[in-house]
């Protein structure tokens, strides 16, 4: 991996971070902070939506849905209040991008929220922050205080007729509350149960009122679009996914961490940017978009990190949490780790997910720990198909699919390793560790 030309990072969202103060309001203003909001306040709400739609800001939470189009779903004249819910419940394993925005440039998120509220006609926005992020919560709260004092949040913002309050709400540790409708249930004080659709949140969301839910990074992009204009945004990244993304590279690399690149960066370049695979070892596999997505093999990494290209390669760019696994990784053990996570986090509402995630975890554990029986690998693959998930219409949300997709791809791409576990009575690397 050494010697690969790594393009320079292009810091737009995280511009100035580590170089000068961009965290305080004064510091944020040195990067033309809140100019996007000022511009949005001079535009009609529909024009703000149109600008974000034209910039094709795709949802950075993982689904890649165009934010501008989503904002357009808010019904006109429903007579009900409209809400913004910012999804800052960043809990997808391998993902740590939103916290960089919240902790390093909190005003960028606040500005993004205000721009969105202006566009959709919301007077109240909630930022639902993962409870395990105490620093993010504290920094955001402090930034909100600053913004309130500077009349950037509250009544008559910047002398306009725009009133908007933003509140930080703290999660309590459930992965499922990062699912957008589970987040709404939790915000209302209920169990974090994802909701059946229809009704869709844009029509009936929080307290049965029209609600738009956007990821932190998506809203940050919206602030940048309003500041620089859609044309400038469209010049960055690929036509499929304009702009930059904050990629989190973790696992078996020399220098794990976050990197902001235009979306044209390839997976191979990202790994190089993180110092390459550690200890001089060879690459075995990469999960490109957070733990829920199909795994890619070492030969599948020459792919641009935008939504379309990674989808074409058979995986998903998701939340841009890039998990790197070296040649010594036991893929059965890695899958077991994932299955235990999804089993633990299933909310338990839908039959296939509630029962199926547990079955998958038990099967993988049996194979890993030496109890595998002939036919277990086929059984594992077949159970995964029975659990199906939202794409098959079997569940309310995508959590079941998040267990199914890795299972399917791990078995498909690393089947001999699974078979060897069954035939050899368990994990060879575990045995090696015991005998060493």
């Amino acid at each position: 991996m050494t010697g690969l030309p790594v393009p320079p990072e292009h810091r737009v969202l995280l511009e100035g971070v580590g170089v000068r103060d961009v965290k305080s309001l004064a510091g944020y203003r040195t990067r033309r902070g809140y100019e996007g909001l000022a511009r949005a306040l001079k535009m009609a709400p529909a024009e703000v939506t149109a600008e974000v739609a034209r910039a094709n800001v795709r949802g950075r939470g993982g689904a890649g849905f165009p934010a501008g189009r989503k904002w357009g779903f808010v019904p006109k004249g429903s007579g009900k209040p409209v809400y913004l819910a910012c999804n800052a419940d960043e809990s997808e394993p391998g993902t740590f991008k939103d916290r960089q925005i919240m902790e390093l440039v909190p005003h960028l998120l606040i500005e993004g929220c205000l721009v969105a509220c202006r566009a959709i006609g919301a007077k109240v926005g909630y930022i639902y922050v993962r409870g395990e992020y105490p620093l993010s919560i504290r920094v955001l709260e402090e930034a909100l205080e600053e913004a309130r004092a500077a009349n950037l949040v509250g009544k008559g913002i910047l002398g306009s007729d725009f009133d908007c309050d933003l509140w930080v709400h703290t999660g309590a540790g459930a992965y499922i509350c990062g699912e957008e409708t589970g987040l709404l249930s939790s915000l209302e004080g209920g169990r974090g149960y994802p909701r059946i659709k229809p009704p869709f949140p844009a029509i009936e969301g929080l307290w049965r009122c029209p609600t738009i839910i956007n990821n932190v990074e998506t809203l940050a992009c919206a602030a940048v679009v309003l500041r620089d204009g859609a044309d400038a945004f469209l010049k960055m990244g690929t036509p499929d996914t304009p702009g930059t993304r904050i990629y989190g590279v973790s696992g078996h690399v020399e220098r794990p961490g976050w990197f902001e690149f235009e979306t044209s960066v390839t997976l191979r370049q990202l790994i190089a940017a993180a110092g390459g695979v550690w200890k001089g070892r060879a690459l075995k596999a990469v999960i490109p978009g957070g733990s829920s997505v199909p795994v890619l093999g070492a030969r599948e990494i020459d792919v641009a990190c935008d939504f379309g290209s990674v989808a074409k390669a058979g995986s998903l760019m998701g939340s841009a949490g890039v998990i790197v696994m070296d040649e010594t990784t036991c893929m059965v053990d890695a899958l077991l780790n994932l299955m235990e996570f999804y089993h633990h986090e299933s909310c338990g509402q839908c039959t296939p997910c509630r029962e199926g995630t547990g079955w998958l975890a038990k099967l993988v554990r049996r194979i890993e720990e030496g109890g595998g029986r002939p036919g277990d690998v086929d059984l594992l693959a077949s159970v995964a198909e029975a659990v199906g998930g939202a794409a098959a219409g079997k569940t309310i949300c995508f959590l079941a699919d998040s267990a199914v997709m890795p299972t399917r791809s791990f078995v498909q791409k690393f089947r001999p390793e699974f078979e060897a576990h069954v035939a050899g009575g368990g994990c060879p690397s575990r045995k090696a560790a015991v005998h060493a």
Binding site: G348, P352, R354, E355, T357, G358, V387, A391, G393
Partner: protein, 533 residues
Amino acid sequence: MPRVTIDGREVEVPPGTTVLEAARGLGKDVPHYCWHPGLSVAGNCRICLVEVQGMRGTQISCNLPCADGMVVQTGSEAARRARADVMELLLINHPLDCPICDQAGECKLQEYSFELGAGASRFDVPKNHKRKRVEFSDRVVFDAERCIVCTRCVRFTQEITGNGELTVVARGDRCEIDTAPGKTMTGNYQMNVIDICPVGALTSADFRFRSRVWFMEQKRTVCSSCSRGCNVLAGTRWNRVLRLVPAENLHVNRWWMCDRGRLEIRDPAAPDRLASARLLRDGRPADADAGEVLAAVAGALRDAKAEGGAGLFGLVSARLTTEECWLARRLLRGFAGSPNLDWKPRALEADGFLMTADGNPNAAGARAAGIAPSAGGFGLDGFRAAAESGRVRWAVLVGEDLDDRPEDLAVLGRIPFVALIGARESATAGRAVAVLPGATWAEKDGTLVNGEGRVQRVRAVVRGPGAARPESRILLDLLAAVGAPGVPAPGASAGAVFKAMAAEVPGFEGMTLAGLGDLGLPLGSRAAAGAKA
């Protein structure tokens, strides 16, 4: 109004109708666990999956609104496969303890397994274990291992009783239904969660392990514990009522009934039942031949008639059927000429939901049948004064006693001839000259009129003990014995008695017993049809 095609049949439905509801309208019951017509849609069990043309994968029909032009396949290969997958997953951790489960025989898991299940299980890892025999109250017992977390019970407490006593705790395949720590279920409607539980997770402390349901006979009848007239299914075996569960009637009780109604089932063979006819001999009650007692009562009624009837008091229970009230009126007023007829009120505390303030199930029927004092006569309130003055020489109590009215009971001794026709032993019966054993609500066919004026059928589901017979039979015999004209002959069918009653009693015009159907009819609703006929 959207038109949809379900399994090749086109149907127009009101906007907002779901595919599952539209299919039910066509007589197709799409499998479902969590969906219940009386509760909000949860969409969690996933067994109601159907295939919709132009939509990816399968869709839950319970939450899919019908759209114009929609083409739905409820039984396509994809839908069946998806449902079979869900069915398999529902059972992997289920204890499969059907042989000892009360729900067996009426369990939706069994029903859909029969339809969709594989013969063998692929699940060869250890099952999860959860709490068993959890007492949610002294009436409701929970088995978490059988539970499929459909949340019908949770939604019932949130949406119907509003007390929110049940909730889901924990996550994933560890989740269970529970009450708040240290709390139990309360109130008069707890047991409905047992009925709506589609599996054997919620069982009745009262009915638990008492009978395999398939050995019971289940008949539709009406609860007699207040004037609501909740429709029920009475489950019987060994000539005993083992269980009452609500039967759907959207005009009356929807899908629910109160616990009081179901727990007041008293065994028809209970020790306090009157099982033989009696006559007072030398001041002591002694068993007698029913024919002899009938003749004694008939003789007393002839005597009363001979004196104009003013000395006869008739107390006719508003727990009796309308037909019985009518026959009693024909006997006591029509034949014997008594102006002194009445029924005894029974006050309850209405609970704001189903239970009414009137503990008589048929006060409306008694009123319609003319059980009330006529001009110059007295009712229950005037009875004591009349008895004390010696004006009352004969008293006939039909289906009723005075045990709860000690002052009235005390004056019975002043009346030379007291006859009681009733089901249960009482102090009143102990003072009667003649006693004929009657029947409980569970032993007779006929009609009750509920507090809202709906005429509904009760059905005999068990037989009374010994010589006990429905009051209608006894009254028909008495009417024949005294030679009263214009009434059905002894042994007439329930339908014939109803027909004769309907011809005379206002509000019943044009009705037949069979024509009441399962749901009953409002008083007066067939008047026009009757006029035409």
